[in-house]
């Protein structure tokens, strides 16, 4: 059955990479939420979410991005999203996430976006 989910955390300088793996739904979203909260508590404001191995997302998963993004942007940081597979990208697009979040192709692209924008924010 399709229910596994994991978050792998790594650092590239000041940027945190959260690599999501598996299925992000109402059951697994609290683990993603906890991973972001851990970074914020530790004072890290630049977060890249690598969706390369994320095979499913529901609104519970999208809600995690939404509930933290303003706090991070207010603090001068951001969440950059990358490597999104077409099935998951389709769900992002249904709610118009592509105009609200910085969504790029690869992890290096996402990390570079932080140095390209002084505030680290989209737009």
């Amino acid at each position: 059955m399709s229910s596994s989910f994991a978050v792998h955390t790594s650092q590239q300088g000041p940027i945190t990479i959260l690599a999501l793996d598996g299925f992000l739904d109402a059951h697994t979203a609290p683990r993603f939420e906890e991973a972001i909260q851990t970074e914020i508590t530790a004072g890290r404001r630049g977060i890249v979410v690598d969706c390369g191995k994320l095979t499913y997302i529901s609104s519970a998963g999208l809600g995690v991005f939404m509930s933290f993004i303003e706090e991070l942007r207010d603090a001068g940081g951001d969440i950059k999203i990358c490597s999104v597979v077409p099935k998951v990208l389709q769900v992002f697009e249904i709610l118009g996430f592509q105009s609200l979040f910085d969504i790029v192709d690869t992890v290096p692209d996402a990390v570079n976006r932080f140095s390209q924008t002084s505030s680290g924010q989209k737009g």
Binding site: D25, A26, S58, K87, Q90, V91
Partner: protein
């Protein structure tokens, strides 16, 4: 698909742990109906959203309750009903704030129903006070 009606029924304890099982259940039925991969994903997503709402809001995460998913296939469509006996809601009073505004308010609620309406052809909600709540969704097969 052969031209006769087929019915499927799933009863599961009200736990988010069972969302994967529910997605697999409707996904397999949709596949049998002949839906393409993209449409199957949307059907699974809509049913996941409906059941997550029931588990979290109608039953308040009470795992002793039961979620019922009924599916019906005919030559033209899949019809899925999600049934619960928990707390109902009036879809007319559900706020439909845009995503940007929800973000600004640091809120993420209310996305599930919006998602269902965007990906399915029909969504109907019926509250039968003191008895049950039924959310009915229809996805039609696109014919060449």
């Amino acid at each position: 698909m052969e031209n006769f009606e087929r019915r499927f029924l799933l009863h599961v304890p009200s736990s988010t742990e069972n969302l994967a099982l529910i997605r697999d259940f409707v996904g397999n039925i949709g596949k049998q109906a002949g839906f393409q991969e993209t449409e199957l994903s949307m059907i699974e997503l809509a049913v996941d959203e409906a059941c997550a709402n029931v588990i979290e809001h109608a039953y308040g995460l009470d795992q002793t309750k039961e979620v019922i998913v009924r599916a019906r296939l005919d030559a033209d469509a899949i019809t899925i009903e999600v049934i619960d006996t928990g707390k109902g809601f009036d879809p007319g009073v559900v706020e439909h704030k845009d995503v940007k505004r929800l973000m600004a308010e640091r809120r993420s609620g209310g996305l599930g129903m919006r998602m269902m309406k965007l990906v399915m052809d029909e969504v109907h909600y019926q509250m039968i006070p003191g008895e049950r709540n039924e959310l009915k969704m229809v996805k039609r097969l696109r014919k060449e």
